[in-house]
């Protein structure tokens, strides 16, 4: 037996090291709420903007907390909590332009919030009422994707479509035309996690995006855990360094710093819109909750790790900053808390009132028009259901 082959061990993994904050990730707001300037990432946000982000952070955490409770009460089949990743999601999503397209995983509740998706649409999915079912183009927010990493290819293809539409921005198409102005352009952001970086599809997306110079930002929320697998089971190098091998820049940002996530994503998206090709962002964060409500993190990680990350909470540092600088009055925080309570109540009540779909909805939207096979099965099942008419199953409930 070699030394290496003895590596398998049941011992708990050591807590992840925090990167060197000066050199290894971009940070604009410390966990203590101190603003730091970074020469490459000047922050152009008003006090009102930062207060609005604080509100976003608090409200999406509240929706998340409520959803976990609803799962515990049997109202949802499962829930994938975003706890701890609020800043990565709100910061990146608030930097987007309305025309930009988003491709999420199944945990992007904060991004969904910023794109105007009704939280009840997310709960529908986790309750088992639908598989999602919002209109992706209306919100420029694609459907949740559950297979890990598949959406990064959809995002890359969409970005290739932007190129073919001539919708990449930058210099005017005809520099001699005095009326032509620089076009704003459109870009795509693909969300995925640290585990996804091991998937073939993600690596293929990197290859396609790179060789076609597609207008896309790959936003990796490294929350340290792919269910029970720690980061070192996915990579021997920091994830953002992978980008270099594919031929585009990678940058690591403090994923619990909403301001840094905003600034770094804004810059990368702008570069993509202007035709400078892809960027990978690694948002260094932590999944403070379980993978989903079916998971039990106590089986694979130490409580002390969570305690360490609680000190880097993405919401507390914004609150500390707003209080310290006087950019928000006490009333502001009370109002946000009250609003969170109202949303919590609304989510709770709406979830409990959500009806099951009609049985024959099973057969809808499989094809543009139902096929002969599908029509026959639908008719047979409808007749079967009708055979129970008068036993409390009226035909109208189909």
């Amino acid at each position: 037996m070699t030394v290496e082959s003895g590596a398998a061990t049941t011992a708990a993994q050591p807590a992840p090291e925090m990167p060197d904050q000066a050199g290894e990730f971009i940070q604009l707001l410390t966990p203590e709420g101190e603003r730091i300037d970074h020469p490459d990432y000047p922050l152009e946000l008003s006090a009102a903007d930062i207060r609005a982000m604080y509100r976003d952070l608090v409200l999406v955490r509240r929706i998340d907390t409520e959803a976990i409770a609803l799962q515990r009460q049997g109202e949802l089949g499962i829930w994938a909590s975003l706890l701890g990743q609020e800043a990565a999601q709100i910061g990146s999503a608030r930097s987007l332009e309305p025309a930009d397209m988003v491709f999420p995983t199944y945990r992007e509740h904060g991004v969904a919030w910023c794109r105007g998706i009704d939280p009840m649409k997310l709960l529908e999915l986790y309750r088992g009422v639908s598989h999602g079912g919002w209109d992706p183009e209306e919100h420029k927010f694609h459907l949740y994707t559950i297979v890990i990493g598949s959406q990064t290819l959809h995002a890359t293809g969409y970005a290739m479509g932007i190129q073919r539409d001539g919708a990449v921005g930058g210099d005017p198409p005809d520099p001699d035309d005095p009326k032509a102005s620089a076009r704003p352009g459109e870009a795509v952001i693909a969300y995925f996690g640290d585990g996804a970086t091991s998937q073939g599809d993600v690596n293929e997306a990197f290859v396609f995006a790179s060789v076609f110079n597609a207008p896309i930002v790959f936003f990796c929320q490294n929350n340290q855990w792919a269910i029970s697998a720690p980061l070192e089971k996915q990579s021997r190098v920091p994830l953002y360094q992978r980008a270099r091998g594919f031929g585009f820049p990678g940058v690591r940002v403090d994923g619990n710093d909403v301001l840094a996530c905003y600034a770094v994503t804004k810059k990368a998206m702008q570069a993509a819109r202007e035709g400078q090709g892809p960027t990978m962002i690694e948002a260094y964060t932590y999944r403070m909750g379980a993978h989903t409500t079916t998971d039990d993190p106590t089986r694979y990680r130490l409580a002390s790790e969570l305690e360490m990350w609680k000190l880097r909470d993405p919401i507390e540092r914004v609150r500390a900053y707003l209080v310290r600088t006087g950019l928000a009055e006490p009333d502001f925080f009370a109002d946000v808390d009250a609003e969170a309570n109202q949303i919590g109540t609304r989510v709770r009540e709406a979830c409990r009132a959500m009806p099951d779909p009609r049985p024959l909805a099973i057969f809808e939207h499989v094809y543009a028009e139902p096929t002969s096979i599908l029509r026959a099965e639908r008719e047979q099942y409808a007749a079967y259901l009708d055979s129970f008419a008068g036993e409390g199953n009226e035909a109208s409930s189909r």
């Binding site: 639908s130 598989h131 999602g132 079912g133 919002w134 209109d135 992706p136 183009e137 694609h142 459907l143 994707t145 297979v147 598949s150 990064t152 290819l153 959809h154 995002a155 890359t156 293809g157 969409y158 970005a159 290739m160 479509g161 932007i162 190129q163 073919r164 539409d165 073939g200 599809d201 293929e204 997306a205 290859v207 396609f208 060789v211 809808e364 939207h365 499989v366 094809y367 543009a368 096929t371 002969s372 096979i373 599908l374």
Partner: protein, 327 residues
């Protein structure tokens, strides 16, 4: 009318689709300068440019996955998978993403994507170049699965598939690429048989032979040979493997009272099993004999020196036909 090989007919159909709709794209490995390993896309990149006829990186999941993104953006990509056995790396993108996106989105999303796959054996190829994976896709709700068997259908069906708002897995009989047939290149699609319908390629009275793709020609040859023995075989080219054109199938079986299904794919859990069950259910009192199947064995595709034993040929088809008269 003009005489074209099946591969040239596909090329003409693709060209017409590219001309008629600027949103149509072609993408795949070696489809540009080379024109594809079977030359089906020959000359298209030269005439329509690299933005519309895209030589992709060598990654099948990447091809289908980015095609999905392009379709979400309003394009109609036609993907080429170089060989049947290379489609499996794209299985998640086809089965879990492409097939299910309309359903997942409650009808908000259409993915009008065609995936062209040269399939079947008979060309003396190495492993993974002779397979018939159609039933995997026929079993996947949300996909349409078709197979062309002659030049005229190749020309029409590829265009019909591209205009379909559903994803279509388009199987091309690779050993028939060089077979010639009459094609009317100026004909519109209005007069063409819908691509979800089976067609009778030879009328007969004694037994119905159901087949598709490369085995259609084998079936016709079997029927001509059987005539000399005084047996009249009606040959149907199924064309659409999902959905099945049950009405056309059952009308023929009710007329003849006997049914044989031939395909290259393994018989076990193959398309023939589904057809046999449906024919038995709908034509029970018309049947003079059990529905019989001829096809590949329950083995992986063999080395090519053995493929003549594996592929259903004239003699094995006629043997099955004979057996339907033994009841």
């Amino acid at each position: 009318m003009t005489t074209l090989t099946l591969s040239k007919a596909l090329n003409a159909g693709l060209r017409k689709a590219l001309e008629n709709d600027p949103k149509v794209l072609i993408m795949g490995e070696d489809v540009g300068k080379l024109g594809g390993v079977f030359r089906v896309t020959d000359g298209l990149q030269k005439d329509f440019g690299e933005a519309r006829v895209i030589d992709t990186p060598l990654a099948e999941s990447g091809i289908v996955g980015t095609a999905i993104g392009l379709a979400l953006r309003g394009y109609r990509p036609v993907c080429e998978i170089q060989f049947d056995g290379f489609v499996y790396p794209a299985a998640d993108q086809i089965i879990s993403q492409l097939a299910k996106m309309r359903y997942r989105s409650r009808g908000h999303v259409s993915l009008p994507i065609v995936i062209r796959i040269p399939f079947g054996g008979g060309i003396g190829a190495v492993e993974h170049h002779s397979e018939s994976p159609e039933v995997i896709f026929a079993h996947t709700a949300g996909l349409r699965v078709v197979a062309c068997a002659d030049a005229a259908d190749a020309f029409a069906m590829i265009q019909q598939s591209i205009s379909s708002d559903d994803p279509v897995i388009f199987f091309e009989p690779k050993r028939r690429y060089w077979d010639k047939g009459e094609v009317d290149p100026v004909a519109g699609l209005a007069s063409a048989l819908p691509f979800d319908r089976a067609k009778t390629v030879l009328d007969g009275t004694d037994v119905t032979l159901l087949t598709y793709g490369p085995t259609v020609r084998t079936g016709l040859e079997s029927a001509l040979a059987a005539r000399q023995d005084g047996r009249s075989i009606e040959v149907l080219d199924l064309r659409s493997l999902s959905p099945l054109d049950e009405d056309t199938i059952c009308a023929s079986v009710r007329k003849t009272g006997r049914c044989v299904i031939a395909h290259e794919a393994p018989v076990y859990a193959g398309l023939g099993a589904e057809i046999a069950a449906r024919v038995t259910e709908r034509c029970f009192y018309h049947l003079e004999a059990p529905v019989l199947r001829v096809g590949g064995f329950a083995t992986p595709y063999p080395p090519s020196r053995l493929e003549d034993h594996y592929l259903p040929d004239l003699d094995r088809i006629l043997d099955a036909v004979d057996r339907t008269f033994g009841y």
